[in-house]
Amino acid sequence: MKVHEYQAKEIFKEYGIPVPKGGLATTPQEARKVAEEVGGNLWVVKAQIHAGGRGKGGGVKLARSLDEVEQVASQIIGMTLVTHQTGPEGKLVRKVLVEEGLNIEKELYLGMVIDRSSECPVMMASTEGGVEIEKVAAETPEKIVKAFIDPALGMLPFYARKLTFGLGLSGDLFKKAVSFMTKLYQAFIEKDASLAEINPLVITKEGDVIALDAKMNFDDDALYRHPDIAAMRDLDEEDPLEVEAKKYDLNFIKLDGNIGCMVNGAGLAMATMDIIKIYGGEPANFLDVGGAASAERVENAFKILLSEPNVKAVLVNIFGGIVRCDRVAKGIAQAAKNLEVKVPMVVRLEGTNSKEGMEILEKSGLSFITAKSMAEAAEKAVQAAGIK
């Protein structure tokens, strides 16, 4: 799960990780009030959306007076911000974070993820802050220092020393950076994060180490033990169809094509998308109906699939294992009746009770296009969608 920058900074504060003084605003007037409370004579107004690259897209602006704060906030709130991560349609900005401007001496990078290969948390630091870390990793990998942390030991000081010396820090700054990293590790582990990124981490002219930006993602599977984090979910940032799908425990991701897919199992769902493409079509979605595809679940899945006007044909690819094909077939027949499906439906059932399933479809009196194999199903779906 993703959270906003201001939410990540709230978590940072909880752990004593230094962040700039600031607050959230949803109107220009509120933004002015926050700036007044923060004080000083330089402020930053930052769009809060779940995507990076906000600065380049015009979603982060400096203001040198309270009037300017209000003016800049009125430009940002309500704008549709397009960045390299939002896609061309962009995202509507509903709130801004107003913060004190800092006297920046140096911009650094600090990040933390769970490394899949070494199966432990890894903290990464770089002197190349403020730019995309992927770019640094590709062009000058020697400028990224990594510490692979043994989870049984936790964030021992030597890991932090390795990173901090790697950043070329000494004296008081060294101590502050070590403390920063230790607290970040603690927050990451205690909150079941999957990613933490501070880019840039800044050293101020006054000699402080502060998280100018903050990004955190959390492990969906661990949200059950973190109600505080789960409450930070912002439905405005998610696709409404995907939100609807989640209610029914369906794994759904919207794509741009016109062949709706309903598949059981994530791997087979991806493979089905791939084969549609091989036959010259474009999938409209990724949809895994999961292990317990009851009739009701299947019907809900259809509802979500068909609510997309682009969908010109539906491909159902079920390989029964735990899922019994006869149950899925009942769901398909019921959904087709209840929802008055108008687009052609290509169905391929294989595995547990597939014969019974096919019989149910044939006896339903509805017109389904059936297929024996994945390839045949994809070919027929592409034809039915009128692409070829």
């Binding site: 991560q85 769970i114 899949r116 290969s117 199966e119 432990c120 948390p121 870390i133 992927e134 990793a137 043994d150 989870p151 049984a152 582990i189 079941d192 999957s194 492990d219 969906d220 599977d221 661990a222 059950y224 033990r225 794994n251 991701i253 794509l255 598949v263 059981n264 199992g265 994530a266 791997g267 087979l268 769902a269 991806m270 493979a271 089905t272 998308m273 791939d274 084969i275 549609i276 493409k277 091989i278 999938p283 990724f286 895994d288 292990g291 390989f319 029964g320 294992g321 735990i322 294989e350 595995g351 547990t352 194999s373 994945m374 390839a375 994809a378």
Partner: protein
């Protein structure tokens, strides 16, 4: 021969009395798996479905019934604990079906297995099957057939698809393993390729990967250096958009890494027969085996 499990495997099912546990244990026994015990804390002393003794701890199941492998259906919040218990009881093979275990829990449990003689498969996987001998998992048994093909897959139903394509052509399997779709898993492709390399019954390995992580690249490196048998590979997710988790927690293209194209290129470079279409897996296996 086969790898991991065979007719001598003595299975204990952790979470046997739950809905999933009961359903799949019944299926496993029907297939011929030797389920010797079940474990549900608090229900020790009872008989599951009148035929399998239930114990409070895995250690008791080992002591009383000689269990040497555990099949786990315990809910995600308690599953890491159940796995650790199985490791502590000295299980040689652990198969964890449970989906949704927090990554940090898995990280700790995996760490605890280091240096111990245990091989875990999963979590979030369909399990392991040696056709006609032992099914430790939730796969439909009838699609499998004994034969020379070893199979390693990150996906469940896509495994069934690939197996079915082989079986339909009369090509059977030595052992099939669904390794699971999570970022941290008990056994990686490389771990299992090593076992298949030593197994005289396995003549060819089908490797089914998907986007996310670098496990397939690591497998490619191993195949190039040491693997002596032909490999047929398919990678799911060529059309997946970056930055989106495609169902499996591990299936995500992040920071431009983990794409299907990179993985396919690495495997091709290692000499594997990379299949473009998921419908062609069986046909390519047949061709490579000369059948």
């Amino acid at each position: 021969m086969s790898i991991l499990v065979n007719k001598d495997t003595r299975v204990v099912v952790q979470g046997i009395t739950g809905k999933e546990g009961t359903f799949h244990t019944t299926q496993c026994i029907e297939y011929g798996t030797n389920v010797v015990a079940g474990v549900t804390p608090g229900k020790g002393g009872s008989m599951w479905e009148g035929k399998v003794p239930v114990y409070n701890t895995v250690a008791e199941a080992v002591e009383r019934e000689g269990a040497n492998a555990s099949l786990i259906f315990v809910p995600p919040a308690f599953c890491a604990d159940a796995i650790a218990e199985a490791v502590d009881a000295g299980m040689g093979v652990i198969v964890t079906i449970t989906e949704g275990i927090p990554a940090l829990d898995m990280m700790k449990v995996k760490r605890s297995m280091k240096g111990k003689n245990v091989r875990m498969v999963g979590p979030n996987c369909p399990g392991v099957i040696t056709p006609d001998e032992c099914k430790m998992g939730i796969m439909p048994g009838y699609i499998f057939k004994k034969g020379p093909v070893g199979l390693i897959s990150r996906s469940g139903t896509l495994t069934y698809e690939a197996v079915w394509q082989c079986t339909e052509r009369g090509i059977g399997q030595s052992t099939c393993i669904g390794i699971g779709g999570d970022p941290i898993i008990g056994s990686t492709q490389v771990d299992l390729l090593k076992l298949f390399n030593e197994d005289p019954e396995t003549e060819l390995v089908v490797l089914i990967g998907e986007i996310g992580g670098t496990a397939e690249e690591e497998a490619a490196e191993y195949i190039k250096k040491e693997f002596t048998k032909p490999v047929v590979a398919f990678i799911a997710g060529k059309t997946a958009p970056p930055g989106r988790r495609m169902g499996h927690a591990g299936a995500i293209i992040a920071g431009g890494k983990g794409t299907a194209a990179e993985k396919m290129a690495a495997l091709r470079e290692a000499g594997a027969h990379v299949v473009e279409s998921p419908a062609e897996i069986g046909a390519v296996v047949a061709r490579v085996l000369g059948k």
